[in-house]
Amino acid sequence: MDVLSIRNLKKRYKKGIFKKEEKYILKGINLKVKREIFGFIGPNGAGKTTTIKAVMGFIYPDSGEIKIFGKENTDVSVKKKLGFLPERAYIPFSISGKEYLDFCADVYEIPYYERRRKYSKLLQMVDLLGAEERKIGSYSKGMVQRLLFAATLLNDPELLILDEPMSGLDPVGRSIIASILKELKEKGKTVFYSSHIIQDVERLSDRVAIIVNGEIKLVDSVSSLISKFISGYTVVYRRIGEASLISKELKREELSKFLNSLNKEVYEIVRVEPKSLSLEDILVSFIKGGEG
C-alpha cells in the first residue's frame, strides 16, 4: 500500500473581480510515495507548497484524489500518525516552548506521565533542551524551526510532510535535521518533503520528483538519475610508492578499458569519480525546457 498517493490533482486559482480569469496552478499531479525519503523539488512558484497544502487538506482540489495510508486525506484519523512542518512556521509569541509542546501532546492525547520523558528526548535531539520554558518570542528563527521539528515527532508519525524543512537553518541545524531524517528512514518511516536546496535533496532522498509549472516532469530514484546522466569519469591514480597523484579524464565508455589496461603492479588507483550532471543541473535543464 502506498503511504501517500496523489492522483490527477488539479487546482486552479481564480483572478479578477468576477473571478472570470482562471489560472491553473496544478495541472494534474500524479505521485506515489512508499516507505522512503521522497524529495519534491522545483523552482519557486512551481506548485510545491500548493501540492502540500492540498495533501494536508488546507485547500480543496478542483479535481483529483489524495489518499494517505489508504484513506481519504480529509479523514481526521489520518492525521494521528502524520507529522507536518510548514515553511516559515510561526507560534504565538506569548507562550513558552513547553506550552506549545503541551498543546500538541493534548491533541495527540499523550498521557501526562509520558510527557516529561518524551519532551527531554526530543528537545535533546534538536539541541534545545533547557530552552523550553522561555517564551517563543525570545527564540531565534532557527530555534523556532527546531522546536517545531521536535514537536512534529511527538506523536511518532509514520509519515512526515515537510515544506522546506532546511530553510532558515544554519549548517549545524541542517545537519541535525539531516541526521534525524536518516534515523527515521532506518526506522521505516516515510518522509515527503519539498526543498530547493538541491545538495540536501541529493544527499538524503531515495527518490525525487521534479515539478515545474504545475506539472511533474520527472520521478525517479536519485541514484538512477545520477547514473543516467553520467557523462564521464575522472580516475586518480599514482605510481606505487610515490606520493604525487595523476588524474585522467575519461569518457564513460572508456572507463573499463582503461582500468583493465592499467598495470596493477606499477600503479594503484586512488579513486574513480563519475562526472555527472548534478541534480541541480538536471533541474535547471528541465526548467529551461527540454530533457537534460
Partner: protein, 266 residues
C-alpha cells in the same frame, strides 16, 4: 470533539497579551473620570458616577471580546499557525469551537477582575462623595450585571467568529463586529420610536419588525438601571430567558460559521 487543547492555548495566549492588562488599566482610569465628572452634578453624585462607570464597563467589555476573538483567529490564519493546528487530528469545527471557548474563558477572567475593580471603584466613590443621604449600592446587583455581560460577550464573540471567517481583513471584521453590536443596541429604541410614529410607512414598519426579530437584540443585556436604582425590579426569570436566548442564537451563529469555515481554502 475535543476542543479543550485549542481552548486552553487560546486562553493562555490571550491572557498574556498586553491588551488584557491595558483594558483593565483603562477601566480604572475611566472610574476616576466618572468620579470627577459626577462632582459636577448637584445632588446625587453617586448615581451619576455609577451611570458612567457601568456604561464604560458595558462598552469596554464589548470592545474587549470583539478584539480578542477577532485577533486570535486572524493571527492564526495570517501567521500560518493554523496550518500547524489543522495538521493535527483536529476537525475544522473543533478548532473553531475551541477558539470560541478560549475566548469565553478569557472573557470570564476579564469579567471577574473587572467586577472586582468596578465594585471597589463604586464603593470608593460612594465613600468619598459624602452624600447626606447615601445612595444605596447593592454589590450583588453589579454581579448580576456581570453575568448578563458574560452572556452578551458570548453572543458577540460568536458573531465575531462569523465575521472573522467571512472577511479576509482583520480591520474590516473588527469594525463590522463593533457596528453590528451598536446596531443591535439601537434596535429596540428604533422599533419603539418607529412603530409609534405616524410618519413611518407600513412597509417600513414591517421591515423594522422583521429586522427586530432576526437581528440580535443586545439591549437585552443592558440592565444598568437595575443596578443603579434600588426600586427597579428584575424578575429572576429574565436571566433564565436571556440565557436561553443567548445559547440558541450563539449555537446558530457558530453552526453558520462552521459551515463557512469548512468550505474555505486556507
Amino acid at each position: 470533539m475535543n476542543f479543550w487543547p485549542v481552548a486552553k492555548l487560546t486562553f493562555t495566549e490571550s491572557v498574556k497579551e498586553r491588551f488584557f492588562l491595558g483594558m483593565l488599566f483603562i477601566e480604572v482610569i475611566l472610574i476616576f473620570f466618572s468620579y470627577y465628572l459626577s462632582e459636577l452634578a448637584a445632588g446625587d453624585t453617586v448615581k451619576v458616577a455609577m451611570d458612567f462607570t457601568l456604561t464604560f464597563y458595558f462598552f469596554l467589555t464589548a470592545l474587549f471580546i470583539v478584539m480578542v476573538t477577532v485577533s486570535t483567529i486572524f493571527r492564526d490564519i495570517s501567521e500560518k499557525f493554523i496550518y500547524l493546528v489543522l495538521s493535527k487530528p483536529i476537525k475544522r469545527e473543533t478548532y473553531l469551537l475551541g477558539k470560541f471557548m478560549g475566548s469565553l474563558m478569557t472573557l470570564t477572567f476579564f469579567l471577574l477582575v473587572s467586577f472586582f475593580i468596578v465594585s471597589i471603584g463604586i464603593l470608593g466613590i460612594s465613600h468619598f462623595s459624602h452624600l447626606v443621604v447615601p445612595h444605596v449600592i447593592l454589590v450583588e446587583r453589579i454581579f448580576v450585571l456581570t453575568i448578563t455581560l458574560f452572556f452578551m460577550g458570548m453572543l458577540l464573540s460568536s458573531f465575531s467568529i462569523l465575521f472573522s471567517v467571512f472577511f479576509t481583513s482583520q480591520t474590516l471584521a473588527t469594525v463590522v463586529a463593533i457596528l453590528f453590536f451598536l446596531s443591535g443596541l439601537e434596535l429596540s429604541s428604533v422599533k419603539e420610536i418607529a412603530l409609534s410614529s405616524k410618519y413611518v410607512s407600513s412597509l417600513n414598519k414591517l421591515l423594522i419588525k422583521i429586522f427586530y426579530y432576526v437581528f440580535p437584540n443586545f439591549s437585552l443585556y443592558d440592565i444598568k438601571s437595575y443596578v443603579v436604582h434600588v426600586q427597579v425590579i428584575l424578575p429572576p426569570i429574565y436571566l433564565i430567558l436571556i440565557f436561553f436566548y443567548t445559547l440558541i442564537y450563539t449555537a446558530a451563529v457558530i453552526f453558520i460559521s462552521n459551515w463557512l469555515f469548512s468550505r474555505r481554502d486556507l
